[in-house]
Symmetry: none
Subunit: 219 residues, 4 copies
DNA sequence: GATGAATGAGGATTCATTCAT
DNA sequence: AATGAATGAATCCTCATTCAT
């Protein structure tokens, strides 16, 4: 008797004002998450940070988790967008590594807080974890392809497993990006980028890398 | 003059039975944390996992946070303990890198879940974050010293900043240890250890490393 | 730097409905306290007495103690308000004593339960005790001034310390007001008021008091 | 089938050691109550104050309330004991008032904290309230008898209701005894006793009282 | 759409009391 | 008789979500 009353899933806003409020909430959610972590991430705090009242939150989002998804998706989207910069035009392999790392470093710098949180999941949410894995996969497989090509061209150590190597070196960049702001140490951006790139190049035995045969020739 | 009604911080158990219960709670806390994350980490769940009633929880710990501290401290203690294995007896530099990585990898494998959670802090607890940083620092500075010595002996690339390099390569190992179990991929332990060590050695330009002059001589 | 995660002190209600609910809770708190004492004074009981759910309690009060403060403040406010009745228009000193006592008696009658409880403090709360002391002080110092004037006019025994005397006689009235309802005895209001006033007047040796030279002459 | 298992009501201790422990607990209970009020009055706190372990508490007392009864009974007993000092030997009525007040004041000084607490009852315990009333009654009826005799002898105002008057003046003394230590003011014991007695005497119109016809004769 | 008051299930904590040693 | 660990019902409080205006 009577229709099953499910919660009226918030519809996308139709007015400009609605869209603006919605975007403000997503942005505020991200900020709260970055600055206060899980413990501060409440609908109330987010609404307040966005400058709207508590009730408005539920005008746009089904639940707290719903907002979280939108936040993560937004961050992920940003990462993908930033990675679309074409690096293939660069000819020099080492320069390409530097550019890749620059992008990866910058992207993780922005996103690491939110993505790490998503990785461990408030409610052990599988779909969030997946999203994070997809992002990693995107970068890792790009690095893997790059390495494989270099190996084929005889410019990199062919004895390395491209997948595992890409994973390890990507891990290096990601973790440095993340832990950098926990440090007291004053490594400036360029120095970090320079070292990561040189370590990366040397690790894969890149021909023509800056540190190749660092002592001016081998024995 | 206003008397301070502080909660009487639980005293350490005096009997054997007490100590056993307490230890069981810490262990159970760790297991719950590893298996269920924040969301499952409740005094009740921990007490149940330890096979005691939840009232007993408060016989030994002031609060949920108090237990968390003890869990983290215990994990940290384990990491330090495992690192005390003397590697200095090994003569060959590359073998030493392998051994170091084996230990680090194994240690993080055990501890990474708890430590990552602590890093992001349930209650944004500063002291927990510090504990995690201390652990990292311990390993990083050990790697730093090792690298510095190799540089002095002319066995590693002297143009690398030892601190930053140690940080980056340590990050690589830590992050691989952590992300390994999120992966579908079947890289076995020895293969991972082998690659990480070779990448590490190549990255610092170690003389006599397995991949040195990987193509049997440079063009 | 360690961010302080303080509970967001409930904001005063902005709407009429809110204010009504809040007031109802304070009133209910007082009733519960009067009728059931400490042991019945729970957020749940108060909310129920106010006809709202217990969650609502925390919309307006930080804690049980917070409500207690508001209740006491409200009672205290009432006492002060009731004391603002001008008695200075009355010319006859004895009539003035009677009026003062009538007010004091009535005020304590209303308030004594709550104030006694506050005096002994659920949480040994210093600020509550202070509030009670302030109320006493208000009445005592008023009586003190009255007595001093009578002494100056030669209408009261000048050998009495005005402060100590006011304290003692005020104590008499307060304690009678309080203990009256513990008694089985059927002293009606007017009789009590009459006796207290006559005792008071006689105690300070008021000229022209009802019982002055009670036997129609000494000697 | 088997006896009804009621809790084995603690038997009075048989050994000297047992009696000593028991007494220590009652004394400790009183001290805790005086110093910390209800909120601090826990079996654990009492046991600790008595220097025994928590469990021992229940060797001697059925429950927390049981101890409370014993404490109150002990305080009451002390009050009664102190009142047994014979004052009837004193001939001068005013001197007798002074002596009575001295005893009452001293007795309440000791006992007021505990008795006030008992009066309001942790668990609204009727029997405790009764005990307090009995104590008051004891003193009040004694004062009442004294007043009645004085009235019969033509030494006090016969128009006063002896019962109500005794109640009021007893209230004065009791309340002053209680509130004295809340005060900042430095009224010394003798001064307080002196004023209370003179106010009392004047209030009942005692012939031959110190302040009778304070101005050296009436109109 | 927006608001903020209201809701109550769920989680943390206390503490009087019991029990095994 | 003494000890102190163990128990769990009762209590305080939180916070995601709903609702009346």
């Amino acid at each position: 008797m009577g229709r099953q009353r499910t919660k009226p899933a918030p519809t996308p806003p139709t007015t400009t004002r609605g869209r603006r409020t919605r975007d403000a909430l997503i942005l505020a959610g991200r900020e709260v998450l970055e600055q206060q972590g899980w413990s501060g991430f409440s609908p109330e705090a987010v609404a307040q940070a966005a400058g709207v009242s508590y009730g408005t939150f539920y005008t746009y989002f089904e639940s707290k988790d719903d907002l979280l998804h939108h936040v993560v998706r937004s961050v992920a989207g940003e990462m993908f967008a930033s990675s679309l910069v074409p690096t293939d035009t660069v000819e020099d392999p080492y320069a390409r590594i530097v550019e890749s790392n620059r992008l990866y470093l910058r992207a993780w710098d922005q996103a690491s807080k939110v993505l790490r949180l998503a990785d461990q999941g408030g409610a052990a949410d599988e779909s969030l974890r997946k999203m994070v894995l997809e992002i990693r996969e995107f970068y890792v497989s790009r690095a893997e392809k790059g390495l494989r090509r270099l190996q084929e061209e005889g410019l990199a150590n062919p004895r390395l497993n491209p997948r595992l190597t890409a994973l390890a070196l990507g891990s290096m960049v990601e973790q440095v990006a993340h832990s950098r702001d926990s440090l007291d140490e004053p490594f400036d951006d360029e120095m970090v980028l320079d070292h990561l790139s040189r370590l990366w190049a040397a690790a894969i035995g890149l021909r023509g890398a800056p540190d190749e045969g660092w002592a001016g020739g081998r024995g």
